[in-house]
Symmetry: D2
Subunit: 174 residues, 4 copies
């Protein structure tokens, strides 16, 4: 996409919708239970700390590890995206089955830019990929006009051409 001085980049005034579904990105530790659970979504806090000016809304759909997402859950995600008015959608999601959810959303690609993102380290950690990944996803969702994409490890993947390499703990193009 070549922008001449007559063209302007995508209008940041159009609202973007962010759906949260759970995953490592939102994990928090509850000492009283001696265990980690998925806590309140962190993406809003990350966007505020970065002083982003585009308008966005955040809607929590569920709080699940992505290994526990069912077909019914994916249907909920599909319908939420289908019904929402925004052309630009980010979905925070566990990384284990992110690709599967992305593929389910393919029919919605014609009129929207849909980006799925998560992280391998919780956003609440001192050292994490979460903040970078959220920034990367925000950049991609504004730059690309239509399609469904998975963004991890600083790469933009097409859902039909990516796998999570569980041994190496990263996403790779195939």
């Amino acid at each position: 996409m070549v922008l001449t001085s007559k063209e302007k980049p995508p209008n940041p005034e159009q609202m973007m919708t962010i759906f949260t579904t759970g995953g490592t990105i939102d994990k928090v530790y509850f000492d009283a239970k001696s265990e980690f659970e998925i806590g309140d979504p962190m993406i809003g806090e990350v966007l505020r700390e970065a002083n982003v000016t585009p308008t966005f809304e955040i809607r929590q759909l569920m709080r699940k590890d992505s290994l526990e997402l069912t077909d019914a859950d994916r249907q909920i995600i599909f319908e939420a995206v289908a019904e929402c008015a925004s052309e630009r959608v980010i979905i925070t999601h566990g990384t284990d089955t992110m690709v599967k959810t992305a593929q389910v959303l393919a029919p919605l690609a014609k009129q929207r830019t849909i980006v799925l993102v998560g992280s391998l380290s919780p956003a609440r950690f001192r050292n994490t990929d979460a903040v970078f990944n959220i920034g990367f996803a925000m950049g991609v969702v504004q730059a690309l006009s239509h399609g469904v994409f998975v963004t991890m490890n600083g790469c933009i993947f097409h859902p039909d051409h990516v796998v999570k390499n569980r041994t190496a703990n990263r996403f790779e193009a195939v």
Copy 2:
């Protein structure tokens, strides 16, 4: 840009070049001098912590507050970008005159994607926009095919249509 299953997103195997010029993003505090200076560039550390897989090289051009950049400095930046083989270039830069440098680079837009990014808070700070901004810039530089862009506050700006609003401390489209 619509991606069908036959098309793949930009190839992460192509190396990207990152030029660093200074700015708030790299500021560090030297207690012995009771002052802050621009330290070693932080972008490499940010990309490593985020586990990005695309290949990149980092080349430091200078370490200046952007208010102190001269026409000669901008010429150095121009020539470095013109001579580099990468099609995708990120330049970390102080925010005060980032737009001016972006405009100087306009002739190089035909065959490259050039993204200028900085931050209003140093990357070494606990609370900072730096990490998000670097992620955002990485997403944009891979998603857009050609052009020169300024990426701040979660927006993609064309260099002829943006100003830094110094009172509100943010970038705005004009």
Copy 3:
């Protein structure tokens, strides 16, 4: 303890021994296993980042949630402290049964200062009590001449006069 100009505070040149036993303070997230485990002890990294100059050695005894510590484990801890040459000992420990371990160590109080400390949030978290608690414990272990103490929530507790209030998630004097 009143220090006059003739007296000097405890000699930082004497080595201090730090025993690590596990607990929340060292929890780390393993994405590949979708779970949190006790990782490498963090106290060394915390002390280095704080530029502490007293000499210390760190010896890992075990990596357990303190609810899983057995009498045999406490015997291991007892013997390790009894045999070590240092007069000043810090033990990082899970908070749930820290008081019990402190009471077991009571016979060793005559010739040593022994401080048990942990945290309610992992040291690897961005927001945590771990760093403050480690600093607090280091201050106490150098300031008090003999005894066994539990240090949590910015308080110095005698092992016979403290409980962990699990509902309020804090330690309280009784």
Copy 4:
């Protein structure tokens, strides 16, 4: 100080007073001015994040680099400490002349425990000694009964037996 089961450690119910005077510990970056200044004191935020339970009050006396403190400033600090009801006082202070201020406070040592602390890296930094140092100072101020102390680099120093080694950027006993 040996604590037997009949003795309890210092009562955390007695309020502690914290005076803030400035220094590196509170430095913040103002991008609009392209410079760093001393910002709001950070110690309250640090204590809240650590969930400390003892009662404390924070009183800001000034916001200066300690190289800029005058005899008049030290008189202000002296009078503030002399007039305050608390037996336990922490003073956050720039490190360059912390020892001098500590010596000025010597006459107040008989009835109070006064601890001076600062940091070589701002508390707002991601990597900092500030949080550890504040914890250390809180531990010392509760453990020692009377006296004036300087606490830096994980050591307790008597004001007449310490210098800041500016080349090595640390405090050393002399």
